[in-house]
Symmetry: C2
Subunit: 207 residues, 2 copies
């Protein structure tokens, strides 16, 4: 069986995992119970899980500990990843101190900025380097993942340097859609677009 996995199934898997974390004190959980905890349908829960394997026991449900381990392994959050951060403005600094990164196995090992006032400072134990050193540092440390938290203006150039340095995945917070080759995983978190979505829903429901 060669399933094509819907893109949207992956974040749902994360949400099932959260629900499992909250489900202490029993061994098994049914798709029905998982659906109540996550506000998806029970059929969707079952379908989603079968995209990745067969984890259930008919008549009993899903073994909670086993399913947790399976999801962690599918998502890859049991691995550790070194990350380079480019841009230590307000957002970059907030990201540096965000404890969720560590919890998910992401460790920021170097940080860069082009602002002379920031270069040389140490934040959360990481010394901020000049962006001109980006390529050399990323290559030397064999970093595979980068977070781009620069302004829109600098972002594409930074992305190009990162890709040239061997980075395989980019989490982009700059409000542009950088151009990357198909071999590079790009994930955009675009606050500006989320705000426009919010404005749209507000306008629709109040007008």
């Amino acid at each position: 069986m060669l399933n094509k996995i819907p893109q949207a199934a992956v974040p749902r898997l994360s949400l099932y995992y959260r629900a499992l974390l909250e489900s202490r004190g029993k061994d098994y959980i049914s798709s029905e119970e998982l659906s109540k905890l996550t506000n998806f349908t029970a059929a969707q829960v079952r379908r989603d899980l079968t995209y990745f394997g067969q984890f259930g026991t008919p008549g009993k449900g899903y073994a909670i500990e086993g399913l947790k381990k399976a999801i962690v392994s599918i998502l890859g959050t049991d691995k550790n990843w070194d990350v380079a951060l480019v841009g230590v403005g307000n957002l970059g600094t907030a990201l540096l101190s965000y404890r969720g990164f560590e919890q998910q196995g992401f460790r920021v090992v170097c940080a860069f900025d082009s602002d002379l006032r920031k270069i040389g400072k140490t934040l959360e134990g990481i010394k901020v380097q000049d962006t001109t050193e980006l390529e050399a540092a990323v290559k030397a440390k064999n970093v595979q993942i980068a977070i781009v938290a620069t302004s829109a203006e600098g972002a594409q150039k930074v992305v190009d340097i990162l890709i040239g340095s061997g980075v395989k995945a980019i989490l982009n917070f700059a409000p542009i859609r950088p151009h990357v080759p198909p071999s590079v995983n790009l994930l955009n978190i675009d606050l500006s677009i989320e705000l426009e979505r919010l404005a749209y829903f507000l306008t629709k429901s109040s007008g």
Copy 2:
């Protein structure tokens, strides 16, 4: 013609708008040109735009200035919205100084935290209030929109208070999915889940 608008069309509209901002020096732009700038297909551009109206001129394309105004009006980014911010930790502080809010017509008019070390401080001209004052302040100022940037633990309680105070839309950054009535617009920005998506793509492409 009574279109149901696909959810995903709204952020695409935002991206078309960005492309239009970059298209200076001419009066008309074709769906083909817009598709090149946004990496969607020309058919998708045309289909998306017709969900919201008829903006094109056959033979010429879309009048750039007219389409820009139309999109701004559809998205509601021509309106101004007062916003309450709950949680002024690292992320909340970064959001407070994020200039994109103002640009999109969102103005933070009050900020709250339950940490005594933060209450009373002034950030970006906003005095941080105790979360116990949340309900009274939101009601007094008739705030319709709130940003929740608290920890997971406090978030649901904050959301309940906000809804009880008349808030109609919530932009939630806390890593939980708060429960809200259908009348309230909820938009989750869940960094933790994005990181797991990233881990998944990395695992898949490297394993």
